[in-house]
C-alpha cells in the first residue's frame, strides 16, 4: 500500500496544519510562570483507510497532538480539518460529526473504563449520547460490537474489574467503534499490555481496519509495531516533526539523525546481530519543553550538529509525496 495510491485515490480525512499547543504553567498570584511548548507547528494529513504512526520519546507531544485532533484540547494555533470541516475552534455543537466519525482508544485499560458502570453501559454510552435508537436497538448494537471485538456477549452485565487487561482493551475498542467511526486515534493502545495480549489487540485492530475501512492515528513508541502495522510514520521530537515518511522508506533509509538514533535503539531479537551492530547511543535527555533549545530542538544531542543547527530551525523539506524531514545536514541515502 503506497501512500501515493492513497493520496491520489482518496481524499484526506484529516488535515493538520501548523498546529501549536502551549500550556501555561505555574501562573501564580504574582507574575506569570512559563509556557510548556507541547506541540510546535505540526502539519500532516491522513487519508481515508491509512494508518499513520506518531513516534517519539515520552514528553515529545504525541499525546497532546492526539488530544488536539479530537478536540479534547483546544489548539493554541494552527488549523485542524476533519472531513473538510475546520474544527480548530468549533463550538461543541459543531463537533458532532467529529464525535461520531472519530473515536479514541486509550492507553490504560484500567483507567479508561468507569469502574462503577457495567460494560454494556460503557460500550452503549456513545450510542445513547448520539440517540442511536431505542433501548432494544442499542442493546443489539452493543451485542454486535462485543462479538466484533471478540468478547463474549454473555459478559454484558459485568463490571470492568471482572475482565483482564486485554479484554478491557477490547471493551475500549468496542466503545470506540460504536458509531461506525472513520478514524480511530489510538494513544499507545497496547503499551500497557503483556506481549501476548499486545499481539491479540494488534491483530484485532488490523482485522477491524480491513473490515471497516478505518484510518488510524497510531501513537506509539514501539518501532516494531510501526513496522508491522502502519503505512506512514511521523517522528516527533520536542513538539516538532523531525521526519515524516512511508514506513518502508523510513526504516530503509532514515534521513534525520534522530530517526536513525531511534532505529538504532530498537532491540534486535538476536544477540549475535546485536553485538555486531554499530551503535551510537544518544546521550542526555530531551530538553525541557518549558525552554526548548534555539534552532533545531535536537541539536544539543545530535552527533552531526553544527553552528547552523543552533541558529536556525530547519524547515521540513517540501512535500514530495512520500518522504519529508527537517534537518540541515541529513543522512545520505545509502546506494545499495
Amino acid at each position: 500500500m503506497s501512500v501515493e495510491q492513497h493520496r491520489n485515490g482518496r481524499p484526506a480525512l484529516l488535515d493538520v496544519s501548523g498546529l501549536v499547543k502551549e500550556f501555561p504553567v505555574g501562573r501564580g498570584l504574582f507574575g506569570t510562570g512559563g509556557v510548556v511548548h507541547a506541540v510546535q507547528g505540526v502539519s500532516f494529513s491522513l487519508s481515508a483507510g491509512e494508518t499513520l504512526a506518531v513516534v517519539g520519546e515520552s514528553g515529545c507531544g504525541k499525546s497532546t497532538l492526539a488530544r488536539c485532533v479530537l478536540r479534547l484540547l483546544v489548539p493554541t494555533a494552527g488549523t485542524i480539518t476533519f472531513e473538510g470541516i475546520d474544527i480548530t475552534n468549533a463550538p461543541p455543537r459543531q463537533l458532532r460529526p467529529l464525535r461520531r466519525d472519530a473515536a479514541m482508544v486509550f492507553q490504560d485499560p484500567f483507567g479508561s473504563l468507569n469502574p462503577r458502570l457495567r460494560v454494556a453501559s460503557i460500550v452503549g454510552e456513545p450510542l445513547r449520547e448520539a440517540r442511536f435508537g431505542s433501548k432494544k436497538e442499542i442493546e443489539a448494537r452493543v451485542w454486535e460490537l462485543f462479538t466484533q471485538v471478540g468478547l463474549n456477549p454473555e459478559h454484558f452485565s459485568r463490571f470492568p474489574h471482572e475482565f483482564s487487561g486485554g479484554q478491557r482493551q477490547r471493551i475500549g475498542i468496542a466503545r470506540a467503534l460504536a458509531l461506525h467511526p472513520k478514524l480511530l486515534v489510538c494513544d499507545e493502545p497496547v503499551s500497557a499490555l503483556d506481549v501476548s495480549a499486545q499481539a491479540q489487540i494488534l491483530n484485532l485492530l488490523a482485522d477491524l481496519r480491513d473490515q471497516l475501512d478505518l484510518s488510524y492515528l497510531f501513537i506509539t513508541h514501539n518501532l516494531d509495531i510501526v513496522r508491522r502495522f502502519c503505512d506512514r510514520v511521523l517522528v516527533m521530537y520536542l513538539g516538532r516533526v523531525m521526519e515524516i515518511s512511508t514506513v518502508a522508506e523510513l526504516f530503509a533509509a532514515p534521513r534525520h539523525p534522530y530517526t536513525a538514533a531511534l532505529l538504532a535503539a530498537t532491540p534486535i531479537p538476536n544477540p549475535r546481530l546485536t553485538r555486531a551492530r554499530k551503535r551510537a547511543p544518544l546521550t542526555g535527555d530531551p530538553a525541557s519543553p518549558l525552554s526548548p533549545p534555539p534552532g533545531c530542538p535536537f541539536h544539543p544531542r545530535c552527533p552531526r550538529a553544527q553552528q547552523r543547527c543552533h541558529d536556525e530551525v530547519p524547515a521540513l523539506t517540501p512535500d514530495d509525496g512520500s518522504h519529508r524531514f527537517a534537518c540541515h545536514f541529513p543522512l545520505e541515502v545509502a546506494t545499495a
Binding site: 471478540g150 471482572e162 475482565f163 479484554q167 477490547r170 499481539a199
Partner: protein
C-alpha cells in the same frame, strides 16, 4: 498482517482474574457491615430512635394521656420540685396519689412529663441535625464539583470562599446569626448548614480533582458527553461512598450544634421540646444538684445518639473501603 499470537486473535481471552474480585461492590459492602457488631448496634439504635421520634412519640402521648407541653399541677412536689422517675403525681396531702398520673421518667421544672418531652424532643433534634446536614451536603456537593471539575478561576473563587467560611468561629457566629434570624426550626437548619457546608465542599473538590484526570472522563469527553452529564453519570456515583461516610459523622456534630444553640435559647422555640433546651432547663435552674434526671435523661439521649452516628460513620467507612482487612 500477522503477529505471534495470531491463532488466538479474535477469541476472547478466557482468563478470569481473582474470583474474590468478582464479588460486586454491594455484596462486599453488605458482608462487611454484617460482620461489624458495633455498627449494627448503632444502626439498630438509630432506627429505633427514628421510629420513636416519628410514630413512638404520639403513641406514648396517647397511651399516657400526657401532652408534650401539658403542665401537671400535681406534677411537682409541694416544694415545687420535679418528681423523680417512676412516680405518681402528688395528692393534696403531699403524698403520691396511686390513682393519679404516672411519670416513667419523672417530670421537669414545670411539671411536664419527661418521657413525652424526650420523645418529642428527638423530633426537633433529628430534624435539625439531618436537615442541616442534607442542606450542607447539597451546597458542598455543587460547589465542590464545580470547583474540582472546572478548576481555574471558578476553583479559585470557591476555594477562597471555603477558606473564608472556615475562618469564622462557627459557634460564636452562629449565635449572632441565630439571634438576628430568630429562633425556630428552619432558622436553626439554615444557621447550622451555613457552618457545615465547607467540609463536604472540600472533600468533593479534592475527589473530583483526582477523578477529573482519569482516562474514563477523557473517554466520556471524546464521545461528546457534556460537562453536566459527565459530572452526573461518571463522577457523582464515585462520590456517594465518601459523602455518606462523611455525612453520618457530621450529623452527630450538627446534632450537638443544634443542642448547643437550643441550650442557649436560640434553637427551637419553647415550649416545643428539644434536648438541648431540656438540658439547659435541668442545669440552669440548679436542679441537677438534687433532681439529676431532669438534665441527665436528655443528656444521655444526646450522648447515645451522637455516639451511634459516629459509630455508624466509622463502620460505613470501613465497609466502603476498597482495600483493607475484611473483618
Amino acid at each position: 498482517m500477522s503477529f505471534s499470537g495470531s491463532q488466538t486473535a479474535g477469541v476472547a481471552d478466557s482468563v478470569m482474574i481473582d474470583p474474590t474480585l468478582s464479588v460486586s461492590f454491594r455484596a462486599r459492602f453488605v458482608r462487611r457491615v454484617l460482620a461489624d457488631k458495633a455498627t449494627i448496634v448503632a444502626a439498630v439504635f438509630l432506627v429505633i430512635l427514628l421510629l420513636l421520634a416519628t410514630i413512638g412519640a404520639p403513641i406514648v402521648a396517647a397511651l399516657t394521656g400526657h401532652g408534650s407541653n401539658q403542665q401537671f399541677f400535681n406534677g411537682l412536689t409541694v416544694n415545687g420540685v420535679p418528681l423523680p422517675p417512676f412516680s405518681h403525681e402528688i395528692a393534696n396531702n403531699g403524698q403520691p396519689n396511686p390513682h393519679g398520673a404516672f411519670f416513667i421518667l419523672g417530670t421537669d421544672r414545670l411539671g411536664r412529663d419527661m418521657l413525652v418531652r424526650l420523645l418529642y424532643g428527638a423530633r426537633a433534634t433529628l430534624a435539625v441535625g439531618l436537615g442541616a446536614t442534607a442542606v450542607a451536603l447539597v451546597i458542598g456537593l455543587v460547589l465542590g464539583m464545580v470547583a474540582g471539575y472546572f478548576g481555574g478561576v471558578l476553583d479559585a473563587v470557591i476555594s477562597r470562599g471555603i477558606e473564608t467560611a472556615m475562618a469564622f468561629p462557627s459557634m460564636l457566629f452562629a449565635i449572632g446569626l441565630a439571634a438576628v434570624l430568630g429562633a425556630g426550626l428552619v432558622n436553626s437548619i439554615i444557621v447550622i448548614a451555613l457552618f457545615s457546608w465547607y467540609y463536604p465542599a472540600r472533600i468533593v473538590r479534592m475527589a473530583v480533582r483526582s477523578l477529573r484526570g482519569e482516562q474514563f472522563v477523557e473517554a466520556a469527553r471524546s464521545i461528546g458527553l457534556g460537562h453536566i452529564t459527565i459530572m452526573r453519570r461518571h463522577l457523582l456515583p464515585q462520590l456517594t461512598a465518601p459523602l455518606i461516610v462523611y455525612a453520618t459523622g457530621v450529623v452527630a456534630l450538627n446534632i450537638l450544634f443544634e443542642a448547643g444553640l437550643s441550650y442557649l435559647g436560640l434553637g427551637v422555640r419553647p415550649p416545643t421540646p428539644d434536648w438541648g433546651q431540656m438540658i439547659a432547663d435541668g442545669v440552669t435552674s440548679d436542679l441537677y444538684r438534687q433532681q439529676l434526671w431532669v438534665a441527665l435523661t436528655p443528656g444521655l439521649a444526646l450522648v447515645f445518639t451522637t455516639v451511634a452516628f459516629n459509630q455508624l460513620g466509622d463502620g460505613l467507612r470501613d465497609a466502603f473501603a476498597v482495600r483493607g482487612s475484611i473483618r
